[in-house]
Symmetry: C2
Subunit: 68 residues, 2 copies
């Protein structure tokens, strides 16, 4: 299991948190997602044989947020 | 048909806008809802024989926002 922290801009409320969590949760290999709205950070635990950070970025950007 | 403008605090993003619109839209007698996120204003056209402003406030507060 690996861990990465993504910096995400534009998450403003609990709905945004849910949208990001849910989009990441749908990716194969993603085990756990922690969102800090205040810090704009998303911590993801994942199986690197299945999930990629690039796919996570895509999933977040598809929800309308920027990964910086 | 009547019109009222509610001042709503805490709406921060498109998800919030949708949540408020949808909660108001479920009320009997509500015809049209316009949300301005920037101004924190929600304009509602409604049939006053069916819908009340009190019910609208309740519906918005149930979504987690304050009507001031």
């Amino acid at each position: 299991m690996e861990k990465t922290v993504l910096n995400v801009q534009g998450m403003s409320c609990g709905h945004c948190e849910k949208a990001v969590k849910s989009a990441l949760g749908e990716l194969d290999g993603v085990q756990n997602v922690d969102v800090s709205l205040k810090d704009g950070k998303v911590e993801v635990e994942f199986d690197s044989s299945k999930a990629t950070v690039a796919a996570m970025k895509d999933a977040i950007e598809d929800q309308g947020y920027d990964v910086v």
